[in-house]
């Protein structure tokens, strides 16, 4: 469904992506990990066409979006939703209006239909009754939930998560992770997440890919990933001591 071939990108004279080859499995949760400044968010933005590569191909369901623009790109983007690092809620609108926004703008829905769908999504993310609040009145975790509700409301095929738990305390981070996994399992969308939360992401991701020096150096199901023999990768993922990959017993360095 999502396939990157030889993607290269230079920003401010610095090469960030140096030939990324990556295939994202359909209907699964894939997490991209890597050191700070390794280009994970840049890679994510390429998948939805917010950035365009200097070289390479980005295939979304058989369409190369690498140099696509305008109406053609917007057609592909209809399959996507994205949860940004700080939720990117429109601060002049209430939570309700934020979640309703894609329904009103893209599907031109009105009235009771919108109210029903928005309240359903707010309930699913644990924000029932909060629709009247503005983003500035919400905590960080609530903003993320509202952003997730907005991402889910159009029932997209693919959702991208850019560090969804950055800046949250461990309990709140776990609740957001649990919510993402629950939504993904319920709605079966393809999820691509960028995260620093090691070792937690191994317990919730189906696949893990590591970005280093501008390339994907390892990509595997999370239970296989932890068995890697690459010393650098092992040092990175076992930094917290133990890892419990999805469906398997705890592993350690």
């Amino acid at each position: 469904m999502i396939k990157l071939v030889g993607v290269e990108k230079t920003l401010g004279g610095q090469p960030v992506l140096r030939g990324v080859d990556l295939t994202i499995p359909e209907g699964k949760l894939t997490t991209i990990i890597g050191g700070s400044g390794s280009g994970k968010s840049v890679l994510l933005k390429h998948m939805i066409g917010l950035m365009q590569p200097d070289r390479g191909e980005i295939w979304i369901d058989g369409t190369d979006i690498a140099h696509l623009k305008g109406k053609a790109l917007n057609e592909v983007r209809k399959k996507f939703a994205m949860l940004f690092q700080n939720a990117a809620l429109f601060d002049s609108m209430t939570v309700f209006e934020n979640v309703a926004f894609p329904l009103r703008e893209k599907l031109r829905l009105k009235g009771e239909v919108v109210t029903r769908r928005v309240e359903e999504k707010l309930g699913q993310v644990g924000l029932a009754g909060m629709g009247h609040k503005f983003p500035a009145e919400l905590s960080g975790g609530m903003r993320k939930r509202a952003g997730l509700a907005r991402a889910l409301v159009m029932e997209p095929e693919i959702i991208l998560f850019d560090e969804p738990t950055t800046g949250l305390d461990p309990l709140l981070a776990k609740s957001i992770h649990d919510l993402i996994v629950a939504m993904q399992q319920q709605f079966k969308f393809t999820a691509v997440m960028v995260s620093h939360e090691i070792p937690e992401i191994f317990g919730l991701s189906d696949y893990v890919a590591m970005l280093k020096n501008g390339r994907i150096i390892e990509m595997a199901p999370s239970n296989e990933f932890v068995k890697t023999t690459d010393e650098e990768i092992r040092e990175f993922i076992f930094v917290a001591g133990t890892v419990t990959p999805k469906g398997l017993p705890t592993a350690s360095l």
Binding site: G49, K78, A81, F84, Q85, A88, L89, D91
Partner: protein, 255 residues
Amino acid sequence: MEGIARIGRYTIDLTEQMGRMMLFVLSSFAWLTRPPFRVYQIVKQLNFIGYKSTFVVVLTAVFTGMVLALQGHYTLRKFGSEAVLGSAVALSIIRELGPVLAALMVTARAGSAMTAEIGIMRITEQIDALDTMAINPLQYLIGPKLVASLIAVPLLVALFDVVGIYGGYVVGVQLLNGNEGAYWSSIESAVEWKDVYGGILKSISFGLLISWVCCYKGFHTKHSAEGLGTATTEAVVLSAVLILVWDYFLTSVLL
């Protein structure tokens, strides 16, 4: 050699920026012609740029007219020409001070706010969020501001003209005991249609300049608080400078 290279680099950067600004405004207008037509956003911006600038424009107009009348009265009295005070105030305001000062007030109030609003949306990825929802930010955010500015600024300039002339009347006639009939009749005989449409032409072009520059600077804000501050300052300064420069060129063409 380094100095020449620096001049060259600066010239290339400046030309590039001018090209980007032109593409920015042309794309925004082009997107406005495609549905959905953002009538609600245009009305909302008319309220913000137009209605909410009324107070500051009226205040500026009143005092401008009053000081013009004050200065004009004592200057004209030296030549025994107090009777033409009305035309002096009216022509100054309609031809120059109305469009320029109203535009500068709108720049300071609404222009800076536009830059800050769009800049914050850029920094907090709200513009990226629009893109990911396949909603063109130029159509949704920028276009309505351009259209509203083109409508609101000429109306504010017209308001400035009326209030400024009346402010001049209050000082020139009521306070300084000038001749009321002479005040209004001198305006009637001196002000011509070309003065009025010259003012309208200026106000429309100033409206475009303000929203164009301020929206562009906000849209291309660098991702930091300092970047936002820089963008807002640059937007206001550049808008003000361009208003004054363009005013000179238009005046030289119109006269």
